[in-house]
């Protein structure tokens, strides 16, 4: 028998603030973090909207004093992951090397703690890099390889490369919290966060760890990361003057996505050890599924219109949970707000839930916090876990004209929530789905 696994801590850093309470409160109040980008002048792009973290976000508040120096080699993505993990540990009431006071025992033996954290393609900080590149300008003003090799590259800090390796999110987290168990870095674009949580689930189920930090983090709020989002062909270009209405998942007038930055990390524990330490539990993880979309016509950059891959991931998660779709009371969907993605996801949901879809809230957080890349689907899971714990549906917004057979706009409301289905897809066509049950 594989072990039962529960969620005991949530850590989120999003445009709605630091911590799960800030995110949850912001959702209930229907606040949107979508606005013109502050970090750089995006006026040269057809879309100039984004979702940025509050300006006072500082990673140094989330690492022990002894590790502050290391924050200098952290990219923004890594900062978000480190902060999210710290929040998740505290929320779970765990003591680790990272937060235990002097003489205070850590909760878990280090080799029983794993870390599975999804990451994006981290963009190099352009001011830093270009300050070095200008030293290799030739007489014609163009980049000169010879000059770069001889003197230019010396202007880059020696540890420059280490800032941009995607596994640094997980590595810094393992060092801060002394997590010596299995560790992995999933790099599958948007599904990375949820796939990473699936990896931790398997590791705990097969007994290779008792607790894992898992999820993902990403930031597209820099020129290069943003350009790649523009080039993915998924952004809205018609809503620059109307940020609060810009992202419209499952709405007939949806025109595209808005990129953001953020992270979500959960503490996943074996039910046995969580009970033994009297941990407060958000939810049980009952089932997980992963799959691949094959849509050569669009080179897997967009899903096929039937959302076949999403159907098989959701079916696998329901199968493992040994529940039928009748037992699902809330769906936290990808809902990025691009019509092709939304239609495929809608088709997939229709195929699983048929007529019942009209009775189940399908919630999407991207109108509030944007598409946070590799972090997004982990944030989705955090919202799902909070919803089941609070027995409250988060609101649905910007859905004045819902796709057929789907609920439209709705405020948050209390309700009986037995199970939540979280599903996601993304650029490149990987899919993941997860079923949560009550604690």
């Amino acid at each position: 028998m594989s072990k039962r696994v529960v969620i005991t801590g949530l850590g989120t850093v999003t445009g709605l603030g630091v911590g799960i309470d800030a995110l949850w409160g912001g959702l209930l109040e229907q606040r949107r973090a979508v606005s013109p980008i502050r970090a750089f002048d995006a006026g040269g792009f057809a879309c100039s909207l984004g979702c940025e973290l509050p300006e006072d976000f500082k990673v140094s508040q989330f690492v022990p004093k002894t590790y502050r120096k290391a924050t200098k080699v952290m990219a923004r993505d890594t900062e978000i992951a480190v902060a999210s993990a710290d929040l998740a540990a505290r929320d779970a009431g765990l003591f680790t090397r990272g937060n235990a006071g002097e003489g205070q025992a850590v909760t878990y033996a280090p080799e029983r703690v794993g870390a599975h954290i999804g990451a994006g393609l981290i963009a190099a900080e352009l001011n830093e890099l270009t300050s070095a590149l200008v030293n290799a300008k030739g007489d014609d003003g163009k980049f000169d390889y010879h000059k770069w090799g001889r003197e230019g590259m010396g202007h880059l800090t020696p540890l420059w490369l280490l800032k941009y390796l995607p596994n640094m999110l997980a590595c810094h987290v393992t060092i801060v919290h002394d997590a010596q168990g299995p560790s992995n870095t999933i790099t599958c674009n948007e599904p990375s966060g949820l796939l990473s949580i699936g990896e931790s689930l398997r590791v705990i189920q097969r007994g290779q760890a008792d607790m894992c930090f898992c999820g993902g983090a990403d930031s597209k709020m820099n020129p290069m990361g943003f350009l790649r989002e523009v080039y993915s062909g998924r952004l809205t270009t018609t809503m620059n003057d109307n940020p609060s209405q810009a992202v419209r998942p499952f709405d007939a007038q949806a025109s595209g996505a808005v990129p953001g930055e953020g992270g979500g990390i959960v503490t996943l524990e074996s039910e046995e050890t969580a009970k033994a330490r009297n941990a407060s539990v958000y939810a049980c993880v009952l089932g997980f599924g992963a799959s691949q979309t094959v849509n050569p016509g669009k080179r897997n950059l967009f899903p096929d219109e039937h959302g076949r891959g999403m159907v098989s991931a959701m079916s696998a998660a329901l199968r493992e949970a040994t529940i039928s779709h009748d037992a699902i009371d809330l769906i936290v969907a990808f809902g990025c707000g691009h019509p092709d993605y939304d239609k495929a996801e809608h088709a997939a949901l229709c195929s699983i839930f048929s007529d019942r879809l009209a009775a189940i809230p399908v919630v999407a957080v991207r109108p509030f916090i944007g598409n946070c890349g590799a972090g997004g689907s982990a944030i989705d899971l955090c919202v799902a876990a909070k919803a089941i714990k609070e027995q409250t549906f988060p609101p649905s917004i910007n859905r004045d004209h819902p796709l057929p057979g789907m609920l439209g706009n709705a405020p948050a409301r209390q309700s009986d929530i037995r199970h939540v289905l979280v599903c996601t897809t993304g650029l490149g066509g990987q899919n993941a789905a997860l079923v949560l049950g009550r604690a």
């Binding site: 990451a119 200008v134 390889y145 010879h146 590259m153 540890l159 010596q180 990896e199 350009l227």
Partner: protein, 434 residues
């Protein structure tokens, strides 16, 4: 009662490496102790601290795929992945199953790196958008230059999940699909996790491995700044010197390794040829420092111990270890210490070698080509050599199979990969006696 854990076997192998693009040619060259290292030609590296690398030569993915059009514009990583996977697929004989093979039961788990940076255009855009007075990028000027110079296809193809996406299209693989990028440990980890997926019964067949190329100006710059690369510019073929006292860093390589794995039952029912059994997998984190390995090799010991135990073997059963063996001072002495700490007296009885002495370091793809070498070593009962081991290091005092391959009994072996930042993975293999 739970049913017994299924045994997982390798039924297909393929690689694209600096020593060639098919299994047997490359293996023969390894048996002759050849080096794939030479002057870098991908870009003008003549004034870089390191002027050489182990490049893949004379390779074009178009001859390996059904429809080259859907793969146009891919990065080197995906191009190599397609060629390696095509070899593995062919050897596996799965194509013969035709429509009876449910492709939702075919999964992919890769440990691939990012695609090829569009360096010249990227640099030109950055210089055009840079304001010298404030030393900052001006958003609008940068956006204008960047959108004029850089193309959507080349940018999207840099996403690390693109090799996975292209293999899925090529083989219509609709099962569980993952890419992990745990630096140099990635493809060993991918194979280990693919094995776990099969053991859970979530797929019937997994295509797994990795692909990577960091042979581009910023890749070499990054490693040069870390002083991780050998700078033996006068003798490129001698530059990769794992375990030698005068080793001076690793040699950057590129390529891909792909294998097909499935449960023993599934392989036997369809009469597949079996190369080896993947018997155990271990994963750990040093949780020590971003820049250094734990001095006692704590993480590597944990991953090797788990792999041996997971395979149901004891440490005395291990005959050969395909080492991570990068040729950096720190890795080789730490790996040696970890092997000695874990294996005790048996450390002196087993043999260790590093194929990176010949290929260079394929970074994310390194573990997969190493694992393929292990499969061939068990098939031929001959271990590949560590070339360039001219000056033994007192800190590295194991049997590293210097210079020439060795005929020996290999019933079980380990393959190690340790990533920058401290993620470690090991796989245990068992010989398949037909």
């Amino acid at each position: 009662m739970a049913s017994p854990t299924p045994r997982i076997v390798v039924t297909g192998l393929g690689w694209v490496t600096p020593l060639g693009h098919d299994i047997e040619t490359v293996w023969q060259r390894m048996m002759r102790g050849e080096s794939g290292v030479s002057a870098t030609t991908r870009f003008d590296a003549s004034t870089f601290p390191t002027t050489f690398s182990a490049q893949v030569k004379d390779y074009d993915f178009r001859s390996c795929v059904k429809d080259p059009a859907i793969h146009e514009g891919v990065g080197h990583n995906t191009a190599y992945a397609l060629g390696a996977a095509a070899q593995a697929w062919k050897l596996s004989g799965l194509e013969k199953l035709g429509n009876s093979f449910d492709r939702t039961r075919l999964g992919i788990y890769l440990g691939s790196g990012e695609g090829s940076l569009d360096f010249d255009n990227y640099v030109a855009a950055n210089l055009a958008g840079f304001d010298d007075a404030t030393q900052t990028i001006q958003g609008k000027a940068w956006a204008r230059a960047a959108t004029a110079l850089m193309t959507p296809v080349r940018e999207v193809e840099q996403e690390p999940n693109m090799p996975l996406s292209h293999l899925a299209m090529e083989f219509d693989a609709q099962g569980p699909a993952y890419n992990c990028l745990t630096a140099c440990a990635a493809s060993t980890q991918a194979i280990g996790e693919a094995m776990m997926i099969l053991q859970r019964g979530d797929a019937d067949v997994m295509l797994c491995g990795g692909a990577h190329s960091m042979i581009h100006p910023l890749g070499v710059t990054g490693f040069n700044r870390l002083t991780a690369l050998s700078t033996r510019n006068s003798e490129p073929t001698k530059a990769s010197r794992p375990f030698s006292a005068d080793r001076g860093g690793f040699v950057l390589g590129e390529g891909a390794g792909m294998i097909v794995i499935e449960s023993l039952d599934h392989a036997q029912k369809r009469g597949a040829h079996i190369f080896a059994e993947i018997a155990g997998y271990g994963s750990s984190a040093d949780a020590y420092r971003i820049t250094d390995m734990h001095p006692e090799g704590r993480g590597p010991m944990a991953s090797m111990r788990q792999a041996v135990r997971n395979a149901g073997l004891s440490i005395e059963d291990i005959d050969y270890i395909a080492a991570h063996g990068t040729g950096t001072h720190e890795n080789d002495s730490t790996e040696t210490r970890a092997i000695k700490n874990l294996f005790g007296d048996h450390a002196k009885k087993l043999a260790v070698s590093s194929v990176k002495s010949m290929f260079g370091h394929l970074i994310a793809a390194a573990g997969a080509v190493q694992l393929i070498a292990c499969c061939l070593a068990m098939r031929d009962q001959t271990a590949p050599p560590t070339i360039n081991l001219d000056n033994p290091d007192p800190e590295c005092d194991l049997d590293y199979i210097p210079h020439k391959p060795r005929k020996m009994t290999i019933n079980a072996c380990l393959s190690n990969s340790f990533g920058f930042g401290g993620q470690n993975d090991s796989l245990a293999l068992r010989r398949w006696n037909t």
